[in-house]
């Protein structure tokens, strides 16, 4: 019974750690992509200089905008050529007759507002097109919400199973000591005096149950971080080993301890009403 409840805590915490690792990392990745998301406002090629400036003024009036940077068609071409490296010379022939647009690069204060702001800009005069990476972000957030909901349901179910098992384990101990507890109460023991050994037992069960998950977290995340080759894609940056493993271990230990304490407190409660 004792072993079963430790195993229940271990299983629960393993799942908690796995889900949190996934969710926190996807969140981190989504956020870092999102941080870089800009709205590219392509100014109509037929727009006059005045009209372009006027559009700039209108953009400046927008709320929730962090920055607006103007980049002329010549600068755009230059950027393009640099970013293409060797093949950039291909674009040199366009230097005389630049097909690119003048561009305003708009950044939202809050990445979540990007879409809203982009849609508003689409309605402005002399705007040819508005580009932003809505698709990737949207799907990342959708996936993350989905994963989070499933994870939460599973974790809550497991937490309650573990609490139930622990409280049953402790109930057996209490049952054996029922008479002792009754007499303790009758000679004037406080509830805490009676409760604390069970409290400690629950805490111990919880902490013992978190040893294996924490060990697996430390080694597993080390592997993920160093040998899985994820570091080769620099667009996917998972959370750095330190302090992530320490933080997550702390959370795992805290949840383990809470499960244990909750289980024990629940099982003692009804024996104290004497």
């Amino acid at each position: 019974m004792t072993l079963a409840s430790i195993a229940a805590v271990t299983t629960t915490l393993l799942l908690v750690a796995t889900f949190l690792t996934i969710i926190m990392n996807i969140n981190h990745i989504a956020n870092s992509i999102e941080e870089d998301v800009e709205i590219k406002v392509l100014v109509d090629v037929t727009a006059t200089e005045e009209e372009t400036e006027q559009l700039g003024d209108e953009l400046n009036q927008l709320e929730h905008v962090e920055s607006i940077v103007f980049s002329s068609r010549d600068e755009e071409l230059q950027n393009l050529m640099t970013s293409m490296g060797d093949q950039g010379s291909f674009w040199e022939m366009f230097e005389q007759d630049n097909p690119l647009n003048d561009v305003y690069v708009v950044k939202a204060q809050n990445p979540q507002d990007t879409e809203m702001i982009a849609q508003e800009i689409e309605g402005f005069n002399r705007v040819e097109r508005v580009n932003y990476g809505q698709d990737i972000i949207q799907s990342l957030f959708t996936f993350n919400n989905f994963a989070r909901n499933i994870g939460l349901v599973l974790i809550i179910a497991l937490v309650f199973t573990a609490i139930f098992l622990i409280s049953n384990t402790i109930k057996i101990t209490i049952y054996a000591r029922r008479k002792e507890i009754e007499i303790m109460k009758l000679v004037g023991a406080t509830n805490w005096f009676i409760r604390w050994p069970f409290f400690v037992e629950g805490l111990l069960l919880g902490v013992l149950g978190s040893i294996i998950p924490i060990a697996i977290l430390f080694s597993g995340y080390y592997y993920l971080n160093h040998s899985a080759g994820l570091d080769q894609f620099d667009f996917i940056q998972i959370l750095p080993y330190h302090p992530f493993v320490w933080q997550l271990s702390g959370i795992v230990l805290l949840i383990g301890a809470s499960i244990g304490i909750w289980g024990s407190v629940m099982s003692v409660r009804k024996f104290l009403k004497v």
Binding site: I183, M184, K185, L186, V187, G188, A189, F193
Partner: protein, 228 residues
């Protein structure tokens, strides 16, 4: 010491055990509680140390209002009251010494005080030489004396005994009564429920008779009043 006004107790199953009891018991008194089986004596006793809570009325013990008492104040009330049960309520796996020490550990006395005090009360009930025995190795009278030692270990102002001589032969009963009288002589108030006509009629004290959950008689130096 104890003040009850129109106290009623109805158990959750609907049985009405006390139907309006009013009484005052002063410091240092020795009170017998008599009455037929089922009259409500044990209920009366349990209300005093709040093993049960009265349904209505007013109970004051040592100046504490028992009906409007919070759960966490109950331990403090009980530390001033020693209780002796008919079935002793000793822990079978603990020695005589440990059974008595237990009551002092629970109230978090220092180990040194506990050692001294346990031997003192065991001496008082004449069991100093059996401190290492476990309850099963003792006679009924000896077990009852352990229960008394435990009840008085914490210097209670009030000692309650529910039929302390119920299962004992006459000689042993007189021994127990002698101990209770000594405890009373030292200033402790004693309330004792009993069915023993001999004891009540010999050691004359205040007698409170309960019938059907009501006090029907309250006499100083009273008689038992029922056929044994």
């Amino acid at each position: 010491m104890i003040e009850m006004q129109d106290v009623q107790k109805t158990y959750p199953n609907g049985v009405s055990a006390l139907n309006g009891v009013s009484i005052t018991i002063e410091d240092g008194e020795f009170v017998y509680l008599v009455g037929q089986s089922g009259a409500g004596k044990s209920t009366f006793i349990k209300l005093i140390f709040r093993e049960e809570v009265a349904t209505s009325g007013k109970i004051e013990v040592n100046g504490k209002d028992l009906l409007n008492m919070k759960w966490r104040e109950v331990p403090l009330l009980r530390r001033d009251i020693g209780v002796v049960y008919q079935d002793f309520k000793l822990l079978p796996k603990l020695s005589v010494y440990e059974n008595v020490a237990f009551a002092l550990e629970v109230v978090e006395e220092s180990p040194r005080h506990i050692r001294k005090r346990v031997m003192e009360v065991l001496d008082q009930v004449g069991l100093k030489n059996k401190a290492r025995f476990i309850p099963d190795e003792l006679s009924g009278g000896e077990q009852q004396r352990v229960a008394i030692a435990r009840a008085i270990a914490n210097y209670p102002k009030l000692l309650i005994a529910d039929e302390p001589t119920g299962n004992l032969d006459p000689d042993t009963s007189w021994g127990i009564m002698k101990i209770l009288e000594e405890i009373n002589a030292s200033g402790t108030t004693i309330i004792m429920a009993t069915h023993s006509k001999d004891i009540v009629n010999t050691i004359k004290r205040r007698v409170i008779a309960i019938e059907g959950g009501l006090i029907v008689r309250d006499q100083h130096r009273g008689e038992y009043g029922y056929e044994a």
